[in-house]
Amino acid sequence: MIQDPKIGRTVIAKRVALELKDGDIVNLGIGIPTLVANYIPKGVTVFFQSENGILGMGPAPEPGYEHPNLTNAGGSPVTFLPGAVAFDSATSFGLIRGGHVDITVLGGLQVDEEGHLANWMIPGKLIPGMGGAMDLVTGAKKVIVAMTHVEKGGVPKIVKKCTLPLTSVRRVNLIVTDLAVIEVTEKGLLLKEIAPETTLDEVLKYTAASLIVPEKVPTMPVTL
């Protein structure tokens, strides 16, 4: 098990980045998903869509180059890459809900055995609102959850059944954590890879859902 949380987050971002294919339209949520942009494989061109109304978003500008009308969904200044487009919120979610976004990477509070994600509220504690998450999970072609495997204190986030309010009844496709890569299949949660410096026992210990474990489970193809 990776001890340093920062390295853990990096491993997650690097592993998710390997899922991106040349030409993909990609929407990254805030938090860990944002880091994915730093690890796009060589030779792969992807286009970042942000729900506030842009496709072809580039990284943060150099100091002094910030423009108040060019921001990401977190409100931070970004840049245009060549071929970038701006559009209104209805069109932005037309792209999202209409299946024109190839991959969305989102953070998670819980994912359950059925592949249902909860990531927008903790009743009585944290009610930030769903923002665009419900539309993204419902509409994107492929949904990847990028999150730490456990909460602080070691409480599993991959559970039998979500106790927190669901984001969508549409199943997510892939869960990438600092311990494992898990695919949501018709038959259940399939353990695909284990993180570096991590054992199968650790994965099972920190997962509260049943996992389908193949005979051989490879290590994530990422460097620490």
């Binding site: 040349d22 030409g23 339209i25 061109t45 286009f47 869509q49 842009i54 496709l55 072809g56 245009f80 060549p82 071929g83 970038a84 487009v85 701006a86 559009f87 209805a90 069109t91 979610f93 037309g94 792209l95 999202i96 809900r97 209409g98 299946g99 024109h100 976004v101 419902t138 509409g139």
Partner: protein
């Protein structure tokens, strides 16, 4: 990255007989004529065409009707093409009439991942036959369902190599809506510019929904 630019022939080759096509244009203004001619040259059959109208016998979608490529049209009117009415009366062409604003919203809904929209248009008329109605705050609305197609054949004034599109004046009409609503979207363009050659504020359709680009007459 995939090069989206193809020839008319390559584009037409992808389209099988019996396909459901959305075709842009309003009485021919904004219809991709090269693609229409390509369909005719290739002798496609049993097409279903979703469009605003069937234009004129010698223009736009009208040519597909005259050449008997089409078994069904979903349109808002056919008044300008006597051949459409003739084939309808003969029973060789099925015509489904949809109010123009409803047609626009149904196409948009199909592309935007909506199941449909609620419209007051058509309530209490023959258009409501067979449709669900919903009352909201005491007012009745028709449930009009989303439309999708196998292919959208659209016409733009300008594209970059990624497929960002700009339309021209009244040639815009249904084209931007249809771009979103098909499994494969093929655009015929008058002008192809380098990536980055269009102001991000001025793009009418983002490249995410465009699959193939055909260069029009003005290369």
């Amino acid at each position: 990255m995939k090069n989206k630019v193809v020839s008319v022939e390559q584009a037409i080759e992808m389209i099988p007989d019996g396909a459901v096509l959305m075709i842009g244009g309003f009485l021919g203004d904004g219809t991709p004529e090269l693609l229409v001619d390509g369909l005719i040259k290739a002798g496609k059959k049993n097409l279903t065409v979703i469009a605003n109208d069937t234009a004129f016998p010698d223009k736009g979608i009208g040519k597909l009707i005259v050449n008997k490529l089409v078994k069904k049209v979903i349109v808002s009117h056919i008044g300008t093409n006597p051949e459409t009415q003739k084939q309808m009366i003969e029973g060789t062409l099925e015509v489904e009439l949809v109010p123009q604003g409803t047609l626009a919203e149904r196409v948009r809904a199909g592309g935007f991942g909506l199941g449909g929209i609620l419209t007051p248009t058509g309530v209490g008329t023959v258009v409501e036959n067979g449709k669900q109605k919903i009352t909201i705050n005491g007012k009745e609305f028709l449930v009009e369902t989303a439309l999708r197609a196998d292919f959208a054949l659209i016409k733009a004034k300008k594209a970059d190599f990624l497929g960002n599109l700009v339309f021209n004046y009244t040639a815009r009409n249904f084209n931007p809506l249809m771009a979103f609503a098909a499994n494969v979207t093929i655009v015929e363009v008058e002008e192809l510019v380098p990536v980055g050659g269009i102001d991000p504020n001025e793009v009418h359709v983002p490249h995410a929904v465009v699959d193939y680009i055909v260069r029009g007459n003005a290369k």
